[in-house]
């Protein structure tokens, strides 16, 4: 770890935290609720960023683990009457175990078998949510999920906003330390560079890939729990296959391998969609915005990958690197 690493992290963290604090105080209700959701999305996306970046694997079930988190918390609090925090932790553990069971057989193989398995798993989860009406509430969903408490129940959106972003930034920082400032992260980065070489050193590559996948699922589950406790109402359509795709898009657009990429990706996509919702009706008032949204989303993804195959953070890193070199030259 070079001495500049910690200061570089602060360089990103401090402005982000300040900007968020300002928004939290000044923003209107719409903006606050939008940012709460965005914060949750960052947690879920960060898992994928790690998985794609370090294990080189695609998961098509991120929305399913997000659903496990949300429904697990719902079942724990509504049906079993557990403390919300306890339900959240138990659900995250359970999601991790499920991910382990999927990861162990598929990640021992070379190729994109995890993508195939998660594809199947994700769709099955969604069908179960729709079918098991007694437990999940069926297609219309479940209601009456309590808000989280921290001494007092967090009833206002502004309180929840503060909680979510505190958790989000804390998790990002933990992931960041894990990846850059530890021997564990060094092994992950070695894995990313050359699997054969890592294996030749005597490191069980599959084991590390499974761990990253479990971490990815646990982050999604945590996000799902926060989501359920925020909205207090959940339904299966919020966790479909297309939602898994959207998380993937946010991860890739942000850039892989650095958890800050998840932040960049989610903010870029959220901002893009907001702008679209404002601008599109001015251009074509007759067509509902939701229809544009999908085209624009696909277009954004394709264009980003064509012009920035490493995502926005990748481009930023190169840009920053060039600046540093320039400064040193002088």
């Amino acid at each position: 770890m070079r001495p500049s690493t910690a200061s570089r992290e602060l360089l990103i963290l401090v402005p982000v935290a300040l900007a968020l604090a300002a928004l939290g105080v000044l923003g209107n209700t719409y903006m606050i609720s939008m940012l709460v959701i965005a914060g949750i999305h960052v947690i879920v996306t960060a898992g994928l960023t790690l998985l794609l970046g370090f294990a080189g694997q695609i998961s098509l079930a991120q929305a399913a683990f997000y659903a496990l988190g949300a429904y697990g918390s719902m079942i724990g609090t509504v049906h079993l009457g557990l403390n919300p925090w306890l339900a959240l932790v138990l659900t995250a553990l359970g999601s991790g175990i499920v991910a382990y069971a999927i990861g162990v057989p598929t990640l021992r193989l070379h190729g994109h078998y995890l993508a195939l398995a998660t594809l199947g798993f994700g769709i099955i989860v969604n069908i179960v949510l729709v079918q098991e009406t007694n437990i999940t509430g069926g297609p219309t969903g479940a209601v009456g999920i309590p808000r989280l408490t921290l001494g007092v129940e967090l009833t206002s959106d502004r309180q929840y906003f503060a909680l979510v972003w505190f958790v989000t930034l804390a998790l990002l920082l933990v992931c960041r330390v894990l990846v850059t400032g530890s021997s564990y992260g060094r092994v992950l980065r070695a894995l990313q560079a050359s699997e054969v070489a890592t294996e030749s050193i005597g490191i069980d590559v599959a084991r590390y890939k499974v761990q990253v996948f479990v971490l990815c699922a646990v982050l999604a589950s945590l996000g799902g729990s926060l989501y359920a406790h925020y909205l207090t109402v959940i339904s299966p359509s919020e966790f479909g296959f297309d939602v898994s795709m959207e998380f993937l898009v946010m991860a890739v657009i942000g850039g892989l391998g650095s958890v800050w990429g998840a932040l960049a990706g989610v903010l870029a996509v959220t901002a893009f969609l907001e702008i679209l919702r404002t601008v599109a009706p001015m251009i074509a008032p007759n067509i509902p915005t939701s229809e544009y949204e999908v085209v624009a989303f696909g277009g954004l993804l394709v264009l980003t990958l064509l012009f920035f195959p490493d995502g926005f953070m990748g481009r930023w890193r190169r840009f920053a690197g060039a600046l540093r070199l320039g400064a040193m030259g002088r």
Partner: protein
């Protein structure tokens, strides 16, 4: 007994559709080396274009080839404008690009056709056919006939024509085939265009039975993909068998078990195959192609 026949026949008909889409997956996978998540969207696109043409008074016999041509052209454009420029990127990036293409096409369809359902007339009028006590709409036989005809045509193309052997050579050894003068770029364009056309055909023949909507491509594409994986992902005959098998298993399971879980069956099968035999059910066949 009649129930069994009923399930079997409708299963085979559904399987034919899956097989058409699965062959498209396999062709693109073999030549471009990627899983094409936009495959199902081409089925949707072909079906909706055909339905619109028919609604505007174009006769069915003209509307079908026209819709296939439009879809194939869309596929060709996608390959040239989007996939070719990204040819140097990693597999993961290119796979996600196809996801972007699928989202974009779906959004385009939503904008043009909204979320309404569209119908196509049955290809021929007539009473449902009764076999051994089972009744089956005539269109199911069109599905079977079209799927069978296309499979035979594809077999002849791949195995019996000069161009087909060049395509297979390109799959087996891209560099050596370049030395013969075979251009991998041309083969990639052909493979992608052909799989778009195959998707369109599948979407068109199924529409008289199940209607066309902007989002029909998701499930159709995923099931075709499961069929391709069952067949080992690299073998076209394997994909056909995988498709039929999937259709039949799904039909029986849905009949005897809960119909609500019908769509889950395919994916449970996918998980089971990955757990037990990840190279597909017909690994020996697959060995001859690229793995």
């Amino acid at each position: 007994m009649s129930e069994v026949v009923q399930f079997l026949l409708s299963g085979i008909a559904a399987g034919g559709i899956y097989a058409l889409i699965a062959v498209g997956f396999v062709t693109v996978y073999n030549v471009l080396g990627i899983i094409n998540f936009a495959q199902g969207e081409f089925a949707m696109f072909g079906a909706l274009v055909a339905a619109s043409l028919v609604a505007r008074g174009v006769p069915l016999v003209a509307a079908i080839p026209l819709a296939i041509a439009v879809t194939a052209a869309t596929g060709a454009l996608t390959e040239r404008a989007i996939l070719r420029p990204a040819a140097g990127s990693s597999d993961v990036v290119r796979i996600i690009i196809t996801i972007g293409v699928s989202i974009g096409l779906r959004g385009l369809a939503l904008t043009v056709w909204s979320s309404k359902s569209y119908a196509l007339p049955q290809f021929s009028g007539g009473e449902p056919v009764r076999i051994l006590g089972a009744a089956l709409a005539l269109q199911n036989f069109w599905v079977l006939g079209v799927a069978a005809a296309i499979m035979i045509a594809l077999y002849l193309l791949f195995e019996r024509t000069y161009f087909g052997s060049a395509l297979r050579a390109c799959v087996m050894s891209p560099n050596a085939s370049r030395l013969m003068g075979i251009s991998p770029s041309v083969m990639s364009l052909f493979a992608y265009t052909m799989s778009a056309a195959l998707g369109a055909m599948a979407g068109i023949v199924v529409t008289p039975i199940s209607l066309a909507t902007y989002d029909m491509g998701i499930m159709l594409g995923l099931k075709g993909f499961v069929a391709a994986v069952l067949g080992g992902l690299v073998s076209a005959p394997g994909a056909v068998v995988g498709g039929l098998l999937l259709g039949i298993i799904e039909s029986f399971a849905a009949g005897f078990l809960s119909s609500g879980y019908r769509d889950a069956i395919a994916f449970a099968l996918l998980l089971a195959v990955l757990g037990i035999r990840p190279t597909g059910l017909f690994a020996r066949m697959a060995e001859q192609r690229r793995v």
